[in-house]
Symmetry: C2
Subunit: 335 residues, 2 copies
């Protein structure tokens, strides 16, 4: 049997139970955006790691080395944000072909440093080695939350409002523009920019992490259609999503119109948004929505509700009619 037949999660399921017997009390391992380990009396430590491989996660011709360095850290900081945490340190492993230009790598490190400085995250270690051909970058980030307050995928409750912290689909559309080699105009340049240099929602995550009305939280990396299923399966709940409420950027709408693309499908299934996906208890939503808008001057968008029925399933609705989605979630081993 080939890995492509069982996919990423099929593979993880094969070994995760066996390993879980080694976990200690208060430790939470595989299955959320970050692992949780006890730190001191008042804090837990959270840890995440992400691997980027040339020609799978990025094309060297389509991303500047500065953005590559920035993004390699950003996707990890996004996982820290997803738990409501504050990043404390990063660790960078990098494998490079021997003929890589030093100036290219200086720019990669410049981008990495730029984001490290923005959120004051020290780079405390790593590994540097040769690669036969592709650039390989693994980043591991540690963070901190108040003890017992990390926001989990498993915490959604009945009637929760399902929310996102920004427009969806920009990154997926940016990638489509790059892959289809479309001449970019000012709108599509914004989409490419979000794809290549996403901004992790660290401040938003920290703010939301401190609110008791926020139940489940995660970041959107494979598209909401795929990622929301993780919250549902961990929480044992269902969801109804009202697709007309999915926030779409002007840049996405213009570019989709111009190229005859379905903006909504890109928003639901495009990967690498790095917005936060969260559920807010129904009695806290109104107050929290108002406070959030005041704090960040952008709306938090409610796109649906958590339901007791249809556990593990998303019911898609468009203007009160059932809506059916073209594409499913992303499988890392499928062609």
């Amino acid at each position: 049997m080939k890995l492509s037949e069982i996919g990423e999660f099929g593979f993880i399921n094969r070994f995760s139970e066996k390993f879980s017997s080694l976990n200690r009390n208060e430790e939470c391992g595989i299955g959320d955006d970050c692992a949780i380990m006890p730190l001191d009396d008042q804090h837990d430590q959270i840890v995440t790691t992400d691997l980027l491989i040339e020609d799978i996660h990025f094309l060297r011709s389509e991303i500047t080395p500065f953005d590559l360095g920035y993004k390699a850290l950003a996707v990890n900081l996004s996982d820290i944000a997803a738990m409501g945490g504050k990043p404390t340190a990063s660790f960078l492993s990098i494998a490079l072909p021997g003929d890589t230009d030093v100036e290219y790598m200086d720019q990669v490190m410049e981008g990495y440093h730029n984001l490290s400085e923005k959120y004051q995250v020290p780079l405390l270690g790593g590994d540097t080695t040769k690669s036969p051909d592709k650039i390989v970058i693994n980043v591991c980030v540690t963070g901190r939350v108040k003890k017992g307050t990390a926001k989990l995928r498993s915490a959604a409750t009945n009637d929760d409002f399902i929310c996102v912290t920004g427009p969806l689909g920009d990154s997926g559309a940016g990638l489509k523009i790059l892959l289809e080699k479309i001449n970019p105009d000012s709108s599509s340049r914004k989409l490419i920019s979000w794809h290549n240099r996403p901004e992790p929602a660290i401040n938003e995550g920290l703010w939301l992490g401190n609110k008791t009305g926020v139940n489940a939280m995660m970041d959107i990396s494979d598209g909401i259609a795929s990622d929301l299923l993780h919250i549902l399966s961990k929480s044992g709940k269902g969801a109804t999503v009202y697709v007309e409420s999915i926030p779409l950027s002007t840049a996405l709408k213009e570019t989709a119109d111009h190229n005859g693309w379905n903006a909504l499908e890109l928003a639901l299934t495009g990967g690498e948004d790095y917005r936060l996906l969260l559920t807010i208890s129904s009695r806290s939503f109104k107050k929290l929505e108002k406070e959030y808008n005041k704090e960040f001057q952008i709306p938090i968008s409610c796109v649906g509700r958590i339901t007791e029925k249809n556990p593990g399933q998303i019911i898609w609705m468009k203007e009160n009619q059932p809506y059916s989605l073209d594409r499913g979630g992303f499988n890392h081993f499928r062609e």
Copy 2:
């Protein structure tokens, strides 16, 4: 300029200073086997990460998947041992071609689990993704030491005894047997086995980490001729090494004799020994040597002395005559 011209350490030097301004108090970043971060009132956390790439660090045809999984974790545990620490958790990132057999990966995880269980190190997270062709494995391990007691490369003092915890060169010879496709006999099978499934010196490191007479410590991953230089440059000291004191295994001596190889050169410059290299204060050495032998039933081998003169240099001696080494240290970007 190409990376191969400046090498691994040249590259690291280009950015490490710039990043160090982000480090907080009590944090120790790039430049030792592990980073050090404050954990709680009584402990520091130590963190290490290592990246293994197919065809650079291993050949799929020459290592069983079980050993590959075992080794990927072992090389990281060795860094924890080198600081005198106890491993607390691991994080595994793995990239695989889609046509990899599930059974192959099950065996990789079996080897990883075997070593995890031996030292009770939970696997708390990671990342799984597709690779265009090569298998890529990054492991990050956290560990713990009593506050302020992590053993550093910078702590060697004048007249310290330079010691190693086991025979050197076995792994380098094992690799040579594999690369030169020599038919293995029982001796060379032992060498291949140490190359493919090295045992991290966790118990030895923990024991030595608790002794105040132990000054500098690190693990030997690039060969003592290269690694000792790190202790010397960090400590601002020189060293005299008596090559006749370098411990050589019977298996290495027999295999070298049989194939006309220089066993000593393999021991000094062969990589991936994963023995500990440490310096012990001259007044503690005798007592510590005795206690160590009692604890582990194998000798700790004194191979030289730290000197005030010749900072940054190793003076090699053989039976009271200067000895000159054929090969230098390992450069990760050179062909």
